[in-house]
Amino acid sequence: MHKWYGDFHVLRDLNLNVKQGERIVICGPSGSGKSTFIRCINRLEEHQQGKIIVDNVELTDDVRHIDTVRREVGMVFQHFNLFPHLTVLENCCLSPIWVRKVPRKEAEATAMEYLERVKIPDQAHKFPGQLSGGQQQRVAIARALCMKPKIMLFDEPTSALDPEMIKEVLDVMVELAGSGMTMLCVTHEMGFAKTVADRVIFMDAGEIVEEAPPQEFFNNPQEPRTQKFLQQILQH
């Protein structure tokens, strides 16, 4: 798949196959196109060449395809992007009710379930502004889960958080990974990558430079660029 911003070739010849239940961690230096890549999968950005096939549906200009794909793909953003005018519960129910047309009662029950899973059922009736960053991010995860997606995308879910809150969120993600959900996660948390990833992908300048299981990736990186990057990251 290729993507350009104007004349700028952001993604070059990406080629990735993800099996169901696989957990993939993507890392790479800033500006290497990680976010762009992950956003393409959800069609928040348009790709210009190549194919993206999600759950047997090819992402094209067809609105129906986009809709189908978006229903199957949950996304968690770096800055949570919760809806501040709705309570936590309403945030979670919005899409089930309006997109999946689930009755409100049922949607709320499901939402409470997921909120319990991310360990904040007691916050259900608060507004996002009243929660800490870590709690907000967990709500964001619950909201994405409420759509019962087949695939979850995470774009640096912890990088906007204070050190103390990162752990809360990572714990939830580890648990989620354990439950067998397909996950694509952009993160710099190497600890997390080591624990849960089936594969680690290293990107630079819009290309996939290296792709390996985590033990191999961390202990024995093949490419010089990867080595350099790992050095920097692990330095402090």
């Binding site: 956003r39 959800n42 809709d67 953003f77 919760l82 309006w98 997109v99 909201r143």
Partner: protein
Amino acid sequence: MAEAMMKPPKKTLGPIAWMREHLFSSWYNTLLTAVIGYVLLTSMGPLLNWLFFEANFTGSGPDDCTGAGACWLFVSQRLNFFIYGFYPDELQWRVDVMFALLAIAFVPQFIEGFPGRKWLGIFGMTGLPLIGYFLIPGGSFGLEEVPSTKWGGLMLTLILAYIGILASLPIGTLLALGRRSEMPIIRGLCVVFIEVWRAVPLITVLFMASVMLPLFLPEGVNFEKLSRALIGITLWQSAYMAEVIRGGLQAIPRGQYEAADALGLGYWKKMGLVILPQALKLVIPGIVNTFISLFKDTTLVLIIGLFDVLGTVQSTVTDPAWQNVASEGYVFVAFCFWVFCFGMSRYSQNLERKLDTGHKT
């Protein structure tokens, strides 16, 4: 050594110290204070005398205005006309009902934590105009009809401003969405519409609406003058409203749009459920300010011959029976407007302050 109980050293400010700090902190501040103080002292006395101490409040006719001060008698004698215009005396209870409902719906908005004030506000935006639609003109439910030519005074001012703002909200919202649309032609049309309406003075709009509109319409299609003035005011106002709302839309971070997209919401659901509720809330102060300026601008209908509150006053101050009551009349109108506008601007300022702090958390 935790001196948790230690009190801060109090900086005590006696009146002298207060004055030193706030009035005489430097030589030019002292000078300014002196000059302003002098002007205030010399001008406030006569003004207060005219307004209150030497003014006439009671009596039955022009001859009772004997003092050197203002003749408030004139205002109180004509108050009925100033408030209701030509509305028949025996039917004025209908207007009073609307005034009362208006107060019930909106006064609580100024009171923090009033139970159910949100619902009262919603009633004010939906139910109230509906009731007014049947009650004021009458003609149905066995109510005697009162043609719009008989409406006037403060009541007409309020009707014009209220309907103007109510109708311009949805139109303005659509225009604002259009102006931010990705479709170039839609966007272009909205931009042209907004900019043209914003560029022309309201009195030319009113002139067109009041005397020229029938020229543009097919023969036989016609509305009464008041409706036409309202159409003009509404279109004009919705251009301003669109700009206010656009400001709100722009203030919503991109992440909100993307999150809504990621949840699979379509355009109208995204706007209706996620973006607009936030954007509109954000710009309530702006909307109130627009309302204030519209409220003041309704005085211009006087130029096209509708008797709003300023119009009624103007048509009576030349009454030969009363001598030199123009100042009293104008002060009265100024006071009416000031009370409404000041109240609303306070309200919007408070809201702004609240939103401001709300953002930081």
